[in-house]
Amino acid sequence: MNMSIDISFKIGGEAGQGLQTIGYILAKSLARGGLYVFTNQDNESRIRGGHNFYQIRISDNKVENLTEEIHVIIALDEKTIIEHKDELVRNGVIIFDGEKISVKKYDENLLNVPFERLAKEKSGSTKMANSVAIGAAISLVGYDHSFLESVLKDEFGSKGAEISDKNIQASRAGFNFVSENGIGEFPYRVKKIGDSQDFIFLNGNEAVASAALLSGCKFVSAYPMSPSTSIQQFFASKMKDYGVVFEQAEDEISAINMIIGASFAGARSMTATSGGGFSLMVEGLSLAGMTETPIVIVICERPGPATGFPTRTEQGELEFAIYAGHGEFPRAVFAPGNVEQAFYLTSKAFNLAEKYQIPVIILSDQYLADSYFTTERFDISSIKVDRGEFFTESQVKKLGEYKRHLITESGISPRLFPGQKLGLVVTDSDEHTEDGHITELADVKINNVNKRFRKLELLKKNIGTPFVYGSKDADTLLIGWGSTYGALKEATKILNDQGSNVKMLHLSEIWPFPVEAVRNELKIPDKSISVESNSTGQMAHLIRAETGIEINKKILRFDGRPLTPQYILREFRKGR
């Protein structure tokens, strides 16, 4: 194997110390040199104080998940050292400001850089201490300061040349300080490996929100709730430029009903929330099913039950998303594993929602929502907008008067939006006749149930095959879904590199369940392990319900922290 780069930084401190900004700037500076970057943040649910951290992993190969091995810690408080020193690899270094925080003696390599003093000397204020810290870290790993300079210019340029210049001077001071007073040869080096212009850097929520806009979503209504809020804010920030509308609803019940109203009137519409908000939306979900109104709902899961861990991650709502709602109706559920899947599956969600006139759920979680990935630029030209069948002038002769819920062979009734002379559009949450009016007739109910479920049969044909990776004739199968994609893939690779014979099966298009495709992969059920971020193994339940095959072995994580390859390997070895 040639010299490859795989280095992780951890920046720790209190809420309000600007961790997110430092982390983002450091990550972007590294990405600008053509490196693959993955970042994740670990925040407490508070605005000031506590202990938060931001983790950055960089590599010359694609990285799509966290690792537990840290090479450089930037400690803005002593707690960061206490909590994270054991994660340092051999010869790893902790950078801290010894003039600001007094620390005990530690065995680890400590690099004392006077962040605040240098900031004050260069800019007249201690405010830019964080830029000093980034400069120091960049110097430690032997990376080029010019990338950091250009990122600081971009990020602070809008605040005026003076602010961005002072930040650059501060970062340079940190850089020079470490070059001159460094700790000698640091073994973990980073260098530019290519051009970054073919790449983009974004998180899961941004992938979903941008795909929605590109796919013609014109209306979003939602109620702020972590970790979905950045989807809402991204969409809202585009109102002015693109003529789309974001409306902050009074509650999630209103949000889902608003998008149902907007969709009924003719607009592609979406809402975004977390599990608690989705609980409030469930009645509306059923309304969308009954009135055959296409909507897209993004659920960014966080640990429950109830308020749970508001800022952390879990995959606790798979079964909830699939089974939510009173009564029976077709739906689709997607759970993307990285930003690319988040982007393309969001676009697919809108098409399927409108084509089959159903609700489609995108199941993400805090880990995917807030993690930044570098990835190849998305292929915008591959986005096709398919709004499904419409009732047109030419059909008036054939079909007669417009009937919103016309019984057809496919189960799909051509749509018409209200406000046109072509016909009146009537629908009802009560069981209804073809023309949408309330009825209690038994045979109408049976016909409608069958009609709605005929759409599910067609929908099934649109569900992609699960992703398979690793050894072809494996003796062990690791099964995962959603955001654990990267960790599972790396764990599979490590195991195979170490001589095991492992295959990974990852589901991102989960409902309607790809029964045959999964059954085909489950040739060794007693050697199959379901790997999930929940405490009950919901995918294992689902596999049993849909295929009849029982998966007894599970690797589960439910402490609110993301699954890592190391966690999977530790649990895997325990079972041996």
């Binding site: 590109l214 014109k218 509308v245 609803a249 009074e250 209103s254 009903n257 907007a262 009137a265 009146l424």
Partner: protein, 284 residues
Amino acid sequence: MVTLKDYENGETAWCPGCGNFGILQAVKKALVKVGLEPYQVLMVSGIGQAAKLPHYMKCNLFNGLHGRTLPVATGAKIVNPKLTVIAVSGDGDSYSEGGNHFMHAIRRNIDVTYLVHDNQIYGLTKGQASATSAEGFVTKTTPMGAFSKPLNPIALAISQGISFVGRGFSGDIEHLSTLIAEAIENRGFSLVDILQPCVIFNHVNTYQWYRKRIYKLDSSYDPKDRNAAFQKAQEWGERIPIGKIYTQDRLTYIEHDPEIESNPIIEQKHSLNNFNKILEDFKI
């Protein structure tokens, strides 16, 4: 020219003598008065006997969930401001289950007309107290008489700065249809609270009870006078005013963002080219 005939449609499932018949007639008359054709009108209703009203006339209709008429109406109006959107439901739907949406529709001043059939009782579930039932009102769920104070929707609406609020009576179709027509023509969120007897379950607030008490506000009353409106909103008991109680000029939700009207979402042709720049936000 649109006529009442254009709005006629089929049989109803209401009890003989129900106040809903008068309201249905008044709604149709009002729509003819303002000269709208059925295809231009979207009615959104919830659940309850009142919410069935749009099924018995010709119009576009979204008959949704109990309490959720206003969010559906709001979403539809935002994406297609050309639609005349009328939400209709009863007092349980509007003032209990949908109470939060009612408050926020007033704040939002979305150009929707809200018709509330207020009979102070739950009819469809067969006789329970509602948010507007009088104190001491005996029902199946309040056998010792209702304890909670009745909600005053008109005073609430004025206090929150509603654009238009009136009270009508289902027994006076001509007066009610004029009031509804005014509400439809008002720019902004308009509430018409409609007093309506429930001939089966409410044996207190009957046609006779109302006829003895109601009086029409005449031209000597100024509905732009907020303090006077508050006083009228408190009048209940021996004398009950009906008519336009309060109105004020307020920027509507649609007017605050002229784009919504000049480039309505429903008419936007989606072109990927226009959105090319979206990914520029993420360039490294």
